[in-house]
């Protein structure tokens, strides 16, 4: 089980390190790259949790789609100038303070909650045939959200086009 735990710690380090770097890098492109690092970490975690299909979706959709989209836009807007400017806004100190306070409270709550959180069903049984399970879930239990999601994507496409085009 130690190996198992070690994996978790490594992945957590990748995820959190990537996240911190993402939000601290001066260059937006670098941020996007470190976002990819985080996403890969998360994908790894998914694998670790035996969610193979989701790990794949994470890699294809997130890294392959969304991040590239980000990069496109970053390239589109004036990159160099933005990189030379101040990267953090004036309220960052205050904001950081608030967030840390919040983290303290959240941590406290989680720590308090660790006992009341019951793990009765934590069988640890492997999910056989993960993809098939997800398919059944998606097309049977969650067919309606799936359909709505398609509409959502349609709207997103139309919206992105409407927003980004000079003249419709």
């Amino acid at each position: 089980m130690v190996l198992h735990d070690l994996f978790f710690y490594i992945l957590a380090a990748i995820i959190l390190g990537g996240g911190i770097l993402t939000i601290t890098r001066r260059n937006a492109v670098h941020s996007a790259i470190f976002l990819v690092m985080t996403l890969i970490g998360v994908a790894g975690l998914f694998l670790h949790l035996q969610a193979e299909f989701l790990a794949a979706v994470q890699v294809f959709l997130y890294i392959g789609g969304i991040t590239v989209l980000f990069l496109f836009v970053i390239m589109l807007v004036n990159l160099d100038e933005a990189a030379k400017q101040r990267q953090f806004n004036r309220q960052w100190g205050l904001a950081l303070g608030c967030v840390l306070l919040l983290v303290a409270e959240l941590g406290y709550f989680l720590y308090q909650g660790k006992d009341s959180f019951s793990f009765a069903e934590s069988s640890g049984a492997l999910l056989q045939n993960n993809t098939q399970e997800i398919a059944m879930s998606l097309y049977r239990d969650y067919l309606l959200p799936f359909e709505i999601a398609s509409l959502l994507l349609l709207v997103a496409i139309v919206g992105a086009v409407v927003m980004a085009k000079k003249q419709i």
Partner: protein
Amino acid sequence: MFSEYFSAVDFLLLKPAILLTIFGIGVMLTDLLLDERQKHFNAVTALVGIGFAAVQMLRIQSQMREAGVSEVEAFRGAIVLDGLGIFFIWLFLISTAITILISFRYLEIENEHHGEYYAIMLFATVGMIFLAIGMDLITLFIGLELMAVSIYILAGFLRGDRRSNEAAMKYLLLGAFSSGILIYGMSLLYGMSNSTNLREIGSALSQRPLGDPLVIMAVVTIAAGLFFKIGAVPFHQWVPDVYEGAPHSITAFMSVGPKVAAFALLLRMFLEPLGSLREQWEPLLIGVAVATMTLGNLAAISQSNIKRLLGYSAISHVGYILLGLVSGNETGLKGIAIYLLVYVFMNLGIFTVVVAMRRRDLVGDEINDMAGLMHKNPAMAILSLIFLLSLAGIPPTAGFLGKYFIFLSLLETGHYTLAVIAVLYVAVAIYYYFRIVVVMFMQAPLDQELPSISMGIRWALGITAAMTLLIGLYPEPFIQLASGPVLAILR
């Protein structure tokens, strides 16, 4: 193989949404065939779509009546059509229809008359419908996103206008941020119950010990996300800015449709899964409600932009509606339903007037732009007066009725201090609403530009004013109408 999992009922319930989607796509397609001057045809198409959806709703209702059921479940419990859902769907259809009525002349003036506008508005309506009838976290979440994303786009629809861009930007970033918080809370709910069905979550939560930190985390995050969507203090700050920047017609839409939908979601969440935790969230709600009323009313006083002012006024109304949830008894919930019903009409009414103020060379969103309206268009001035009185809650307009139930419920449940605070804010509210009245009735016109009135605006004004007065003067059928949802929630 399909019928193994799904029945005809599922699709029957889905029909209004399907029709709206089809017409939405249809609008986008026919838009390609229309030239610049025929764009209003899009509005007609959209209206027809809403009409079809409405007819479907009527049929569903009659079939439910015939079958003698008050609640229909579909898609394996993903949606449940009950009184509440029906009530809200009607509100959405009405809001969207009236918004379409006031839109086309406005969009012509703005030179942004595109089919996508109507299409996205219809898609947003679909999202709202699922918010009203969803009984599953995933359905609700995805419905919320559909609605929200549509509104982001609509808010930024005047792409050439910086204020519109800015509004869309702020709304999107803050909206996404709040969605993140909300979904974090939802994930905790899932974690605590191993289910995404609201009712199952509810029964799982009621098993948990009092003061469970995880429950608190879930409640707080979900409450924060929902409060953001309805625009309650301190999560309200996007409201004035977005109201001001968005196109007039979209501000009108946002102030009713999505807001009512957010309330539908809030009611669902607080009453179904979190219903057993009332004593956990009630103090929270009281604080938020009082803060919302206070801030909304106070900040509205010194506004000079009418959309901004109405934004703050909308915030204060949220406070009142939350009070209905605070008391939470039958009267209170009935009050919320009636309040929302009335709110749709009066708010759309006053925004219709604002939309009509948009003239060729005039943005028309400053209060002073309404100067001398009584001389220019007395009918519109008098109707505005009715809307404003209703917003303030002066009988015999409809607005009073909503407040009546809220106040009564507060007294019934012993929240005397809250009741006094709430009634006193009525006086503050009248102060800023009457600033508009003063400008309209007692000042000379600043220019000779008449308000831009189209057939649609006429109809919209007529319908909203008639309803505002009718609900005020003869509220009985509407109270009956609103009792349905209450029974649905209280079961």
